[in-house]
Amino acid sequence: MGLESALGEGYLTTRVDSLTNWARANAAWPMPMGLACCAIEMMAFAGPKYDAARFGSEVMRFSPRQSDVMIVAGWCTYKMSHAIRRIWDQMPDPKWCIAMGACASTGGMHRCYGVVQGVDNFLPVDTYISGCPPRPDAVLHALMKIQDKIKTEHSVMLDT
């Protein structure tokens, strides 16, 4: 069932912004930054039971060049933070970031010298997920929040 069967002979008016955002929102490919236990729940999120494919996010891209949403799943050490930032910088714009779980959001129970107390210290995080670990449905919820955010963005700007 493609768009053409729904439209029949007719036509549709929209804004370029809306069309672009609609396309982007439904093809947000994740960059899985699995650092600890939360990564297991992130795999469940992509698996058949929770099925991220319903939201167009089933393709986990291990190449930053092909991904749109970085899911930081797990606690991040100071040493690892440099690698994560480097991968983030390699992702093409537009890009979004999910801090998954207590550790990625705030450092969680790893309250010690070696762990960055929240990845928002060096990444622009769009959605935080609470929980230790969060359920896969919470990750889906975060993804839907990102989709809502994408749909309100100005994607085509007049550069004057």
Binding site: Y78, S81, Y113
Partner: protein, 170 residues
């Protein structure tokens, strides 16, 4: 306290007190484990003897401890295992606070290499004649030893760098 040593451990204590009587400081038991404390200057010699003559071929771990006392503040514990006798005991040495330094046993048990680097990384205890002596976990330019008691739980702010968040986009 009277000791209830198993036969192989009795042999270890007997032969150590026979050959190194002035280097043997203390032998005690706690929670079913046997601890033997020796003088730090005889560490290498005794380890060599334990491996070659008593078949303690497996060094399963090296642990550092901050006793937080004014004299001989640091302690290093060697967890030794004899596969032949199926016996395990802990060999202990104390070292001073100002310049804690011990002989490396990496030439006796190869596995000691990384264990010793970890003890150095966490407590700053140096090991003489180590084949590859540097930090193992923390960044090379880190100035502190985090498992020492005076080190704050959350670390020293700014002591480990975060990545640059405004890279130049040229």
């Amino acid at each position: 306290m009277s000791l209830e040593l198993s036969e192989p451990l009795q042999k270890v204590v007997d032969s150590l007190s026979e050959n190194f009587s002035d280097k043997l400081v203390d032998v005690y038991q706690s929670s079913g484990d046997t601890f033997i404390r020796i003088e730090a200057d005889a560490l290498h010699e005794i380890c060599l003897y334990l491996k070659n003559d008593l078949h303690y071929v497996y060094l399963s771990d090296i642990i550092g401890t901050d006793r937080y006392t004014s004299e001989d503040r640091f302690e290093v514990i060697y967890n030794l295992l004899s596969l032949k006798d199926e016996a395990r005991f802990f060999l202990k040495v104390w070292c001073e606070e100002e310049n804690p330094e011990l002989d490396s046993v990496a030439d006796i048990w190869k596995g000691a290499n990384w264990n010793e680097r970890e003890v150095y990384d966490m407590f700053g205890i140096k090991f003489r004649n180590h084949p590859d002596f540097r930090r193992i976990f923390l960044p090379e330019d880190f100035d502190y030893f985090p498992l020492r008691k005076e080190f704050p739980l959350l670390g020293i702010p700014g002591s480990i760098e975060l990545p640059n968040t405004t890279p130049d986009t040229d």
